[in-house]
Symmetry: C2
Subunit: 288 residues, 2 copies
């Protein structure tokens, strides 16, 4: 995972060169947000799934960088005072603390824009249909009916009693769809046949759901030092999570079940998918 | 222009259907921002240039809607308290006043995302290369080295003494590039040969520059009622504009010169470009 993270970070470094002149501060804020550490789970997914379909690593790394930019933008905007108002991210001051609010808004906007721009510039051997598909799928995963919609519902439902089904839907939108997209992007790049596309999509969906429940468990159990962001936030904000609904033990068991299910979708890929199977273990056992 | 605006607004209405459920508020804010009036200058440009190259109006209207979404997102974010802090837009409360700050941030994010999504879904007779080009050009016009970069420079340079050349560059980034893109998008859709692409790009560039100077003149001379937003903002914020640098009369003459130059680039298109030539007059003579 570390090796993949380095490949993704190299691509990010190349895709966000620091200019001279007054726009330098904006690019600095973008680089601060996207190059300041993180597990690169989404980038790893792109790279590993792409390698199942023999995609050139340099090509996959650009798509991985695009997804990481999109993820970073969502964190920068979510941390803003008007949103979750969080001062800590990946153990560092969040973007609006390190720079200022206006710069953080613009850096997020520019990262989102750059994510799309990078996708249509990926070298897919002139297969522009694949590039269009990547853009369409990213738009669907991140827009009003994806991540942004999930964030909106999340904010509206603070202090409200949500059912398990409602929380599942909210989290599928807010976190799950981008994780699922990351897996699917690798398959789109590799022009995978449709039955394999479906397996990869199902894998990504269950992995994303397991990841989010594990995140909620960490928010309850972890310390800020471990998780690199403010702990106990959900409870303090009166947010319903699978932990508050099911209790800690049941939530843990549910996450493990989802992770196992995710791994099962990969069985037909055999040894080639070993890193992805290991990832399903990692997402539910991680401490940060 | 009114007829074109209606075509664009019909496309926007179709592309942003109101859902049931908790994400409704987000789409309402998006619709409020993008369907709340406006001249539709950018949409008009897409449609009129596309018609020079015999593009189907329904196809051009979608690209026009995409540009208007992008423009609306930039206004919503620019009006935020952390940015220009403006309560009035198109004669109505700005988005964060009509809704709230978090909703306005998310609505802007979702409009930006949707703009890209719509572009790759345009029916270009399976010409996915053209769709990719549209996305790449929009990214370049709106990202860190385009509109967002211009907004950043604008905020950093408040109260500073900028030269005429610096103001020209700032405005080219902040407003000019999206107007130029709108013209070019019509030519990309129409697969225009490269010499015509260049003429259209040069037309768009000078039209955009003329438009921005005219906007600065209106900000100095107009009333809030006429221009639908707070008047005298630039001077109050200590922002350098072509008016503050050249004086009102010189600025007016410079805008007229640019508009004329823009019209000249269209001469080889003859009668078909009459509406676009009329537009070059309109941008410098408008009162709102």
């Amino acid at each position: 995972m570390k090796k993949r993270a380095q490949e993704v970070e190299r691509a990010l470094d190349v895709l966000l060169p620091l200019p001279e002149g007054p726009e330098k501060r904006l690019i600095e804020a973008m680089r601060y947000a996207v190059l300041g550490g993180g597990k690169r789970l989404r980038g790893f997914l792109v790279m590993e799934v792409a390698s199942l379909f023999s995609v050139a690593p340099a090509c996959a790394a650009r798509v991985a960088a695009s997804v990481e930019m999109l993820h970073a933008y969502s964190l920068v905007h979510d941390d803003l005072p008007a949103m979750d108002d969080d001062d800590l991210r990946r153990g560092q001051p969040s973007c609006h603390k390190a720079f200022d609010e206006a710069t953080a808004i613009l850096a997020g906007d520019a990262l989102l824009t750059r994510a799309f721009e990078v996708l249509v510039d990926v070298d897919t051997h002139s297969d522009s249909q694949a590039r269009c598909e990547l853009v369409a799928a990213l738009g669907a995963a991140s827009g009003a009916r994806g991540m942004v919609g999930g964030q909106m519902i999340d904010m509206l439902s603070e202090g409200q009693d949500l059912s398990g089904a409602e929380v599942t839907r909210l989290q599928a939108l807010k976190t799950g769809r981008l994780i699922q997209y990351s897996a699917e992007a690798g398959a789109i790049l590799g022009r995978a046949p449709s039955h394999q596309r479906h397996l990869i999509a199902a894998f990504g969906r269950d992995l994303g759901a397991a990841f989010q429940i594990a995140d909620d468990i960490l928010d309850t159990e972890g310390t800020a030092e471990e998780i690199g962001k403010t702990a106990g936030k959900d409870e303090a904000a009166g947010k319903a999570t699978m932990v508050s609904i099911m209790g800690l033990e049941q939530a843990r068991a549910h996450a493990s079940m989802l992770a196992e299910q995710a791994a099962n979708y990969l069985s037909s890929f055999g040894e080639k998918a070993a890193n992805l199977v290991a990832l399903t273990d990692f997402v539910v056992s991680r401490r940060s």
